[in-house]
Symmetry: C2
Subunit: 880 residues, 2 copies
């Protein structure tokens, strides 16, 4: 940082200098450059700020000299003098870093006034009330913003005067009273600060600059940066600008405006202004501002100039602008411009409209919309204009918002739901036999369980809102209520849950319905024309498959057969299979499951044909299909206590013993995945038989299905080889008996570090790879998702050990490097190997960019995230 | 395989041709070469066998021509003719592959006899009984070995004749009766096989060769190869050799001998022989053979020649030999020689003796002893000569054998143990509060839990035998007994457990005490002079540290602080710490633990000074220190049922809730390791304070300690950086207050794939690495050790998906490659970084070889495996 120039006049900068001058300063310079009416001013650089902060609050040498030289320049231009008793130069002082940070110091206006210069201002403008009102405002702002004094100290004085004079608005207070108020202000300052309000205008300026610099490290700013992942070393610039006065009468005013509607994207000016007011009055809420459309009536002299300026700014910046302006005695001044924040809906419309207007290209339009933000458009959401009072916060397990009557029983939820009532199912945790309740509920709230708990997975699959692991709620099933933070919510009470934030509110909250506009379709169409990654869906039912195609899925990347096992009418057979004492018992249970599975596969393959469907054979540990061991333990104790029928006790105890034998210390690393297929080949044989039989039926029905049979949790090529032999054996049997030849592929999940390390060997036997990044993240980092997300990941994020939750955003450093290693090894033996991803990362935009860079063929994600994935895939292509 | 030569005369081969000629054939050729008296013969190659097996049982062309040409050569040399009615050439046919395989076809003697040639033999030898006895034996062996007939068919006939003639021994049956027996034999064959016993001697030979070839793929051979990991494609050779007859009278005989005692290694001939007998009589057990020392008396004519031959063989082969010999009418013939199998004790003594005798070099001696086998020398073991009847088999959790009274209570075990009784503690599983019982027991048997269960870890640390996870035993605590496979074992009954095999036997079994001979010390001394890897110990107590030094440890590579937390008098404070509601409660509990930890570290650092001690900060999930949640659940249910004091119920329920909050789905991947240090820095601060305070005290006591403070389960450099800051903060406080400077290092375990992938980053902050290969194996393969070893690893081994249990033998393909990647990355930034291994692989010889190859600086293992590690490290150096 050897630069010695710390101060830039607005004429010296431009919009590319935002790192040095901050966003505000760079844009003021840019507007000056393109000839817009900007009051003259200068910017002290963020480098000066950093030097000051690094040097224990001492300005870098020469900085103040440069500041006063620039001030001199302003004096020359305006023919005014800073602190002059006759014609004083007044300035505003505003902070502005490279990234917009609302947590920092705001604005000081009218700096340069003191007991003497105020008189000059009065004389010069012929408006004593105006001058003393400016001085009063300045003292108040300076005290609050620079001296960190509580603003209520001054508000109280204003209120007292208005009461005394029976006035409603501040601007009605006459000059004489203002003078007396100013004396009271100064007395308060003296009392609180032990010094007089600074009369030396240079002192005022220096103190204000210091205050801006110091504000970079105030608590709010630090928290804001942490939350928004903003670099602590950016520093802030300081903008010092000649005042333009919106409070010089009825031909003056001030306002803020967007060049298009930031909430709908409509192409019309949006904003508000106040006549005879200074900047802070618009936001203070004392007077009600007028909509920008009234500008024509109220300040007709500048109206056309204002419209032209807005249009010019939009064309120049090639984006919707958020501007601040002031009109001083009929002259328009621009005080700020920046790209305007907007809702997802507006972002989509503006991007597409601007392409149609010839302002930007399709590629730019695709990059203009935040892929993650469009999630809002796909789910009902809480109206962001409503102020919320959440009573609890859980994990945001499935996006969307829902209101309904609290019910604690799945049966009741089904009954009332079917009767047309809106209900929210509230449980400690859900289990497979709650599914009928979830289907008929608007949403689910659970006290326990993480992002991969049953409730979360099922709800995401159904596109229903879900808040999980909301540990502060205490459910009292006996009394049909739950308690949380002092509230008692009874069954039948209405609550609202927000699955996008995890918030839980009492009562119904206003919501916005999802909107899939024409522009949205257009944008996604452009995305398809741009992206090279295919986008598939994770879908387990024909309904999900159909929904996925609506959203544009090009196949199913993950069809989890275990979710089929969870269905109520099948679970008894699944349990019979698990608890079988021997092969023939197990095969008997499997033969009962076969028709169910065949129907499942028939439906899914049909819904997706001719696109491929990746069907993963049974993956989870078997005890997941059994009832809770703890409950059974208590039941047995109860039965014994009550001296119940000994035969019954014996039966239950036998079941308990079997469950004990099946229970595992770390089921995630236990007897699951292809290990089930190796130890019980008959299970996988039943599943592939069901797949092949369904395919034969489809073929006979004139549909052309394509199945990719996927072996989970492979750690060595020999597992895959052995199971492929079993699959081919079943296929050959069926081919012989039916005479039908089928098209299918056999491949594997890559979800263990060892699979990545030996991907070259595994690739010799695999016809495709699919990275299961949920499990790969668990094993690579040694994080159990269920345990980590609730317990230590939040602390890791807070302490900045992790930048993101690695289960939400793919960890490129660890998991990503392992994937790249695996891809390179696999493609070294099979250059054209089809490789995809089916972990939840497949629907997250940053992870999708990684997948694009790593050379994957497709990503797969839940149906509701497909639009996000399509856009993110296009953006990845455009960015790289 | 274009070789066209399928048959080698003994004169044409040598001992280097064992792959082609098999071990037996190669050594017969070698003995012929060095001029020892070997009956002439030839070998059909294993390549011929493989060609035959590959070609559906058809001999390769020309093979039989070569066989008969070789036979012709034998006829010329012996001046006999194959199948001749006057002077028939008789041969033996024996299988022999490159690797000794007792599961295969054995020997056929006297081939070439038929109804005519037997007469010639009778005339020629003037011994009709001899000739017909030979014929009778031949038919019997041929029928059994070549025709696969049950030998009892013939034994029954022999028994009937002996009963009829009132004879005791076979050789007493007179010629006439033998002839009649032969007719009966032939009738049985005709009846069973539907063909006559082959009279064409060429048919006899061809059938015998086929039988040997086919035997390569019989069930026993396949199972044996699987068990012993022998390549299925070796094939077997066939040795055809002129008969030498040990059954030609009192000047004839046959025997087997070792050139040194295979059980002690003493330098004296060891073996046995029978006068007037053929080979199979020695092993048949009908007559009791004489010890080889009697040879001088019984067959004095050949005694000196025999001794000289043995000496010559030993010098020639440079190893102890296991030989077969026959004496025919005073002439010595050698029929086989091979390196003799021996006990660990003998292996050590023979290797060291042979160096002293100038036969082999020290390097050869080091390579002669199987490192794994010397484990036998370090623990009491079951006498291998005893036939065992195990009633159950569990996991071999801690080597050594123990007998004692069964007790089910740790308190009682302590009481009786202190009173001098030998007891075996039998539990479903052990917990920290059973330790006093384990200390006073001879060994531990548990029904549940794997190789890393509490009982296993504690027992290995104490060097006590332990059998874990013996799931077939059903413990009935109410009646103080356990049942297993129909046996009921009551408290006080004596059992024997073998921690090396997992066997459980009723009663006391004869045992062999461990012997650490001078030769053993010498060999280990040579190992130290050879190896480049340092060997450290895993030790958690001063006693273990002292034991480790006795065994030659050069430091402690892993001191687990959590084992200290488990001690009875500390557990209440540990639990108080875990259940603390806030920081001050937690710090209060920690302050109680500090003096204990300081004393621990004082003792360990002192015992090992000046060698380094790697102290791992707290690693396991906290709920491991809490009582069983299931038991508490039942207790609460019981209390409620009995309407107990509501205050008590409330307390227990509160505890249950806290335990619920702490419980994890996959604790192995949960809130443990450095995650505890990050979330509760005060725990690690207490631990390092204890280390530093102990070091200061030691310094003041004139000891020079060196601590390596180790952070477990690091997945990212920022974890290490943050915790290193905490450590240095505590150090600086202590340095300032005490004025003492200490020597220590801060480093990390590398036990997660992500740590390997980012080892270059981690190395910048680490002063040493230690690979925790237990955890690294778990995460790389996705195997929970607790769940995998009992459930699917045995099946994986059986199906040959895994060659070895990856928790016993380091998986070089997956884990090893990740380690090499990590080492390369780390050394790219710190070329001299100290890197060790502390997983249990550190004591296993094949894994140690890998560590040597991978460039590690040291291995660390349990004290009792240090000698193994030293030897294996030397072998790794010599082999590579």
């Amino acid at each position: 940082m050897s630069r010695e120039k710390f101060v830039y006049l607005f004429d010296e900068g431009n919009s590319n200098m935002r790192m040095l001058l901050g966003g505000k300063g760079a844009n003021l310079a840019e507007m000056t450059l393109i000839g817009l009416p900007v009051p003259p001013g200068f910017t002290i650089t963020s480098e000066a700020c950093n030097a000051y902060l690094d040097n224990n609050g001492e300005f870098p040498s020469h900085m103040l000299d440069q500041v006063f030289a620039a001030l001199n320049n302003l004096e020359t231009r305006t023919n005014k003098k800073f602190g002059d008793e006759k014609d004083p130069l007044l300035v505003s002082v505003r902070s502005g870093s490279a990234v917009s940070m609302p947590g920092m110091m705001d604005t000081v206006l009218n700096l340069g006034l003191n007991d003497e210069s105020v008189k000059g201002l009065a004389t010069l403008t012929g408006n004593e009330r105006f001058a003393y009102d400016c001085y009063r405002r300045f003292i108040q702002m300076f005290s609050n913003v620079v001296l960190n004094m509580d603003h209520t100290l001054f508000d109280d004085i204003v209120e007292r005067y208005k009461r005394k004079l029976s006035l409603i608005f501040d601007y009605e207070i006459p000059a004489a009273e203002l003078k007396s108020m100013i004396e009271e202000y100064k007395a308060v300052i003296k009392e609180q600060q032990q010094f007089d309000f600074p009369q030396d205008v240079k002192d005022q300026l220096v103190l204000a600059i210091k205050a801006v610099f110091d504000s970079w490290n105030n608590q709010r700013a630090i928290v804001y940066r942490r939350l928004n992942k903003i670099d602590d070393h950016l520093g802030t610039a300081v903008n010092i600008q000649c005042m333009a006065f919106g409070n010089m009468g009825e031909d003056s005013g001030t306002g803020v405006a967007f060049t298009r509607d930031p909430s709908t994207g409509d192409r019309e000016l949006y904003g508000e202004f106040l006549v005879n007011a200074q900047g802070e009055d618009v936001v203070a809420g004392i007077r009600t501002p007028m909509p920008i459309s009234k500008l024509k009536d109220e300040l007709s002299g500048v109206h056309q100039q204002f419209i032209d300026t807005c249009a010019k700014l939009e064309i120049h910046y090639r984006d919707m602008q958020d501007i601040e302006f002031t009109i001083e005695k009929g002259t328009l001044y621009m005080l700020q411009t920046r790209n305007g924040k907007r809702t997802a809906r507006a972002a989509v419309k503006i991007a597409v409209d601007m392409v149609n207007e010839g302002i930007i290209t399709r590629e730019e339009a695709l990059l203009r919309v935040d892929a993650e933000q469009i999630n809002q458009l796909l789910h009902r959401q809480i109206d962001t204009s409503v102020k919320l009072n959440p009573i609890a916060k859980g994990l945001p397990a499935s996006p969307g918002a829902a209101s309904g009557k609290v019910l604690f029983s799945a049966d009741l939820a089904e009954k009332l739901g079917e009767a047309g009532e809106k209900v929210v199912l509230v449980r400690n945790e859900t289990a497979p036999d709650d599914i009928h309740g979830i289907i008929h509920a608007q949403g689910v709230l659970t006290a326990r369980g993480g992002m991969t708990s049953h409730a979360a997975v099922v709800a995401r699959g159904m596109g229903k809102p879900c808040v999980c692991g909301c540990e502060t709620i205490k459910i009292d099933m006996d009394n049909n209520l739950f308690m949380v933070n002092g509230h008692t919510i009874k069954a039948g009470d209405i609550i609202t849950i927000d699955g996008a934030t995890g918030n839980v509110m009492i009562g119904e909250v206003s919501m916005i319905e999802p909107t899939l506009s024409d522009e949205f379709e257009t944008l996604l169409q452009w995305a398809n024309e741009t992206k090279t990654l295919a986008v598939r869906a994770n879908a387990d039912t024909p309904e999900d498959a159909a929904k996925a195609r609506e959203f544009g899925a090009e196949g199913i990347g993950l069809c989890r057969t275990e979710h089929m096992f969870m269905a109520m009418e099948r679970l008894p057979y699944v349990q019979q299979m698990i608890l079988a004492e021997n092969l023939s018992e197990r095969e008997e249970a499997l033969s009962k499951l076969l028709p169910f599975q065949r129907d499942d596969f028939y439906g899914i393959l049909k819904a997706m044909a001719p696109y491929p469907v990746t069907i993963r054979l049974l993956d989870p540990p078997l005890h997941e299909f059994l009832p809770s061991r703890e409950l059974l333990l208590l039941e047995v104790a109860e039965l014994k206590h009550n001296k119940a029928d000994s035969q019954l006790i014996w039966q239950k105890e036998e079941l308990l013993k079997k469950m004990q034998a099946l229970s595992e210390n770390n089921p995630m690393l236990g007897h699951r995945g292809c290990r089930l297929g190796i130890t019980y080949p008959e299970i996988y044989r039943m599943q592939v038989r069901a797949i092949f039989e369904a395919m034969i039926q489809l073929t006979q029905d004139g549909v052309k299905p394509f199945a990719e049979i996927e072996i989970p949790l492979v750690m060595d090529v020999s597992e895959l080889r052995m199971l492929k032999d079993e699959i081919m054996d079943v296929y050959n049997e069926i081919k012989t008996s039916s005479g039908v030849e089928l098209e299918f592929a056999v491949g594997t999940m890559i979800e263990l570090p060892r699979a990545c390390m030996t991907a070259d060997q595994i690739a010799t036997e695999a016809e495709f790879f699919s990275f299961g990044t949920n499990d790969l993240t668990q094993t690579t980092l040694g994080f159990s998702r269920d345990d980590a997300e609730g317990k230590f990941i939040p602390i890791y994020l807070e302490k900045r050990i992790l930048k993101d939750n690695p289960f939400a955003v793919l960890d490129r450093t660890g998991v990503g490097e392992l994937m790249k290693l695996g891809i390179a090894k696999a493609r070294s033996v099979k250059p054209d190997l089809l490789i995809g991803i089916c972990g939840e990362h497949g629907g997250e935009s940053s992870s999708i960019e990684f997948c694009h860079l790593a050379g994957l063929n497709y990503v797969s994600c839940s149906p509701y995230r497909i639009p996000i994935a399509r856009l993110a895939a296009a953006q990845a292509k455009l960015k790289n």
